[in-house]
Symmetry: C2
Subunit: 257 residues, 2 copies
């Protein structure tokens, strides 16, 4: 589709709490939107348990396949926070104190009131794969890091977002991925499917997606045209609207309310 010229990315969501259903992931949607704005095409996401072998295998696989890998979760001080040491293993480098992160946290705990203890658990948060570059954490201090094409972020959404925005200026994307949505109440996917397929064929560089919706007052279909050429996206969305009108619908620009 349109995004072949854009750098690609994979997100790894690390944490038993997402796989048990305790926690609803709130990071993927944020990263997906921001990466699209930056012009990086998110191609895959995986949710992984706090399991060393699973994390190392997935990181090794996807860092070779995609231009960027973003991990969320598993970089706190507790025994189930093992992302950082797994990244070191995947890269085959030592996991060791990072001088700048160490100084930052040691200094923070020394000057807290009352002073905190920069204990072994907290020291783990300043221990990183050799060669890591810090990602600033303006919310809760303990930094994330980048090594190679892997960016290691926190799991708490507020912290993850702040870290991502610290990192964003260093990410080089392609042309932004833009989209236009047209929706029409009362139309059913099964009626418009063949016409939509024709429009998709007419605009091979635009990705056309069809999404039924359901509302108490009745449903309809939303059609999304997406790509990196704003003119083609606009023209494809125009064709969709004309077709929905020809099917007897009343197409409206934008998502259904």
């Amino acid at each position: 589709m349109t995004t072949t010229a854009n750098p690609t990315a994979c997100v790894l969501i690390i944490g038993n709490e997402v796989l048990s259903g305790r926690t609803q992931d709130a990071n993927l949607q944020y990263l997906a939107r921001r990466l699209g704005e930056i012009g990086i095409a998110l191609r895959e996401a995986r949710v992984l348990p706090d399991d060393r072998a699973a994390i190392v295998a997935a990181v090794s696989e996807v860092r070779a396949r995609y231009d960027h890998v973003f991990t969320t979760g598993g970089i706190g001080p507790t025994h189930d926070d093992i992302t950082s040491e797994c990244i070191a293993e995947a890269f085959g480098v030592p996991w060791e104190p990072h001088p700048a992160a160490w100084a930052l946290l040691e200094n923070y705990y020394r000057h807290r009131n009352p002073p905190g203890d920069f204990n072994p658990a907290r020291q783990r948060m300043a221990t990183m794969p050799r060669g890591a570059t810090l990602i600033e954490n303006p919310v809760s201090l303990a930094p994330g890091f980048t090594i190679g094409n892997v960016h290691v972020l926190a799991g708490v959404p507020r912290v993850m977002q702040a870290m991502f925005e610290s990192l964003a200026p260093r990410l080089r994307g392609g042309p932004p991925i833009v989209s236009r949505t047209v929706h029409a109440d009362g139309l059913m996917e099964g009626r418009i499917a063949e016409g939509l397929a024709d429009i998709q064929q007419r605009w091979p560089a635009v990705e056309i997606g069809s999404y039924p919706y359901y509302r108490p007052a009745g449903g309809g279909v939303a059609v999304v045209a997406k790509g990196t050429d704003p003119e083609q996206v606009r023209a494809a969305a125009h064709d969709v609207a004309a077709f929905l009108r020809a099917c007897g619908g009343h197409p409206v620009e934008g998502e259904p309310a």
Copy 2:
């Protein structure tokens, strides 16, 4: 951990709309909880684009690795609904009209008032990998299916849930995975991390997870003990509560409000 005796599962969430951030996935948490209740250990989830090569490769890989695979999304009538034909390709079987599904949908459209058109797009929803067993859809009729250890469900949450519940009696799980949560306001992960690691070592068959939380009135830590032996889970949670109390906290059973 505790769940080695339980059958394992992987969820594949199929749809560009999740990878673009347009849609927040709402199916993983439901499946995660229900699988835990049934005693099936969810080990991984992946979000995949509407891309034939990506879907076929992922299905082929994970169906060999896990006891069950559940897919959501991509089984409607439009050109971007390609899950079913990709599953056929992954299994190396023909993708062909399923007689029972075909009869069901043909009959439905014939007797609608006004009659609908059982057109080629709708016929796609009755076209399945050879050997598929139907999964009933009490919400919107068009069925899902099981082939081998792969269960193919809709993407719309209400429909997905109804399909899963149609399927659930046919799934054989191990012992249910139970959990107990203890939380304490005001405690920080960095202070309790070493003691929690000790408790984890004492209860190797219980999975102990630590999750900080943030509230306008202040934060704390929630600790989850999870496993298939209710007695061990209870005892580990008891040890956690005693430890948090020794750290000066006031542990409360359950999730923070």
